[in-house]
C-alpha cells in the first residue's frame, strides 16, 4: 500500500537524533510490549511476520507518524488481540478478563526463552523455482500500486537497475501477508544508480541496493 511507512526519499522529517549510550528500552513498558508481542506471536494462530508488518502499515497515517516505534507495537498488538477474538477492547482497557472467559496455558515459559531467541525462522524456501533473471542482467522494477502489503518501495518503481546477486528462493510477502500462499520465488539484490532514482543532482558515485522478488521485476 502507498502508506506513510514507505518513507524512502521523503523530505521534511527533520534532523536525526543520535542519542549517546542509548538504553535498549527507554521505559519499562517498551520492553514489556516487545516481549508480549514475541510471546503472543510464538503462540501461533492466524499470523505471520509479513502480516504483522502490514498491521503497522494499516495504522492511520497521522497516528503512525505521531507514535513512537513501540507505541506502534502496542497499537498493533491491541488491534490483533481484538481482531482475533482473544480480547475485547473493554478487557484491554480494564486489564481484567470478562467473567467466565477461558483460561489458556502460556505458549512460552521463562525456561523456553533462550531457545526461542536463537530459533531460526527463515523465509528461505527449498522449493525448486527457476530464477527469471541472472547476475549482471538489467531489470526494471514494475510500476505496481497494490492496496495490500508489498516490499517494493515507491521510490524504486519504474526504475532500472542491475542484478548483482541472487539470494535464492524466499516466500513472497505480498501474498503471504494476506494469507494467500507463500508463492516462493528468487530474491535478488538489485543495484540502482542514485541518479536513476533521484535525478542529476545525486552523486554519480552513490548506489542504492534493494532486495527484490521475481514478481517485482521485468527485463529492462
Amino acid at each position: 500500500m502507498n502508506g506513510v511507512h514507505d518513507m524512502g526519499g521523503m523530505h521534511g522529517m527533520g534532523p536525526i537524533h543520535h542519542e549517546k549510550n542509548e538504553p535498549v528500552f527507554h521505559e519499562p513498558w517498551e520492553g514489556r510490549i516487545y516481549a508480549m508481542t514475541r510471546v503472543i506471536r510464538a503462540g501461533g494462530g492466524r499470523q505471520n511476520l509479513d502480516n504483522s508488518r502490514h498491521q503497522l502499515e494499516l495504522l492511520p497515517p497521522a497516528e503512525y507518524l505521531r507514535m513512537s516505534y513501540y507505541e506502534r507495537w502496542l497499537a498493533r498488538l491491541t488491534n490483533q488481540l481484538i481482531a482475533n477474538g482473544v480480547a475485547t477492547r473493554e478487557e484491554i482497557g480494564s486489564g481484567t478478563p470478562a467473567p467466565g472467559s477461558p483460561k489458556a496455558a502460556p505458549a512460552v515459559a521463562a525456561a523456553m526463552v533462550p531457545a526461542m531467541v536463537v530459533r531460526r525462522n527463515s523465509a528461505r524456501r527449498d522449493a525448486e523455482v527457476s530464477p527469471r533473471f541472472e547476475v549482471g542482467q538489467r531489470v526494471r522494477a514494475r510500476n505496481i500500486n497494490p492496496t495490500g502489503h508489498t516490499r517494493l518501495p515507491r521510490y524504486a518503481r519504474g526504475k532500472a537497475g542491475v542484478i548483482v546477486r541472487d539470494h535464492g528462493v524466499f516466500l513472497f510477502p505480498d501474498t503471504n501477508a494476506e494469507f494467500l500462499g507463500e508463492k516462493p520465488q528468487h530474491v535478488y539484490s538489485v543495484r540502482f544508480a542514485a541518479r536513476e532514482l533521484w535525478g542529476d543532482h545525486a552523486s554519480p558515485r552513490d548506489f542504492i541496493h534493494l532486495d527484490m522478488w521475481d514478481d517485482y521485476l521485468d527485463r529492462a
Binding site: I16, M36, E71, L74, V86, D206
Partner: protein
C-alpha cells in the same frame, strides 16, 4: 442503573489509563490472567535483549575478521554460517550478508519500509535507525546523513546504500583503523561500535564511542 453498567463505569474511571506505562501494565495483567503470557518469560526476554544480545556480538565478528583472513573470507562468502561459528544465530539473523568497507567503498544500511535490523548480532535497533528522518533520507541523501553523524566522505568514495526490503539482514564490516596492528582480537572488538556496523561511522583506533 444495573450492576454491569456500574461495573463498566468503575473501570472507565479507575483503569483506563492515558499513560503508556499504565496501559501496557493493564494489557500485561489481562494476558497473564487469560493465561496467554507468563510474566517470568517476559522478564527473560527483556533481560536477553538488555544484557545478552547486542552489538558486542557483532563487534566480535568484526574483530575476528580483522585478525583471521580465512574467517574473513568465509564471512564475506557465507555470512550466516561464519557468524553462526561464533554462536550468533536466531530470529532476524536467519539470512545474513556482510558488506566490506574499504578505502574506495562505503556501505550504509537502512530499512525504509519498517526497521529491519540483524538482532542476533546488533541487538534491537536504536531509535534513530527506526526514525522517519533516517529512514526517509538515507536513500536520497546518504552523504548528508553521514555528515550528520560526523562522517565526511571524500567525493571519490563510492557510497552503497542497502535498503533491507527482504529477509536478508546486513552487517557492515568496517575498515580496521590504522595504528591497531599490535592489538589483540579482544582489544580490537572493544573498539568496534554499533554505528560502524550499520555504516554511519568509522572505527577509531582510540575507541571513540559514537
Amino acid at each position: 442503573m444495573n450492576h454491569a453498567h456500574e461495573h463498566e463505569h468503575h473501570h472507565d474511571h479507575q483503569a483506563v489509563p492515558s499513560d503508556l506505562n499504565l496501559r501496557v501494565k493493564a494489557l500485561e495483567s489481562l494476558l497473564v490472567e487469560k493465561g496467554l503470557v507468563d510474566r517470568a518469560a517476559l522478564d527473560a526476554i527483556v533481560d536477553t535483549y538488555e544484557t545478552k544480545i547486542g552489538p558486542r556480538n557483532g563487534a566480535r565478528v568484526v574483530a575476528r575478521a580483522w585478525v583471521d583472513p580465512a574467517y574473513k573470507k568465509r564471512l564475506t562468502s557465507d555470512a550466516t554460517a561464519a557468524i553462526a561459528e561464533l554462536g550468533y544465530v536466531g530470529r532476524q539473523g536467519e539470512d545474513m550478508v556482510v558488506l566490506e568497507n574499504t578505502a574506495k567503498v562505503h556501505n550504509l544500511v537502512v530499512c525504509t519500509l519498517c526497521s529491519c535490523y540483524p538482532w542476533p548480532i546488533l541487538g534491537l535497533p536504536p531509535v534513530w535507525y527506526k526514525s522517519a528522518p533516517y529512514r526517509s533520507r538515507a536513500v536520497i541523501d546518504p552523504r548528508g546523513v553521514l555528515r550528520e553523524f560526523g562522517l565526511e566522505l571524500p567525493d571519490e568514495v563510492e557510497v552503497r546504500v542497502w535498503d533491507s526490503t527482504a529477509e536478508l539482514r546486513y552487517l557492515v564490516l568496517p575498515e580496521r583503523p590504522p595504528g591497531t596492528e599490535q592489538m589483540t582480537e579482544e582489544q580490537l572488538a572493544a573498539l568496534v561500535t554499533r554505528d560502524s556496523m550499520v555504516g554511519v561511522a568509522k572505527v577509531s583506533a582510540t575507541g571513540e564511542q559514537s
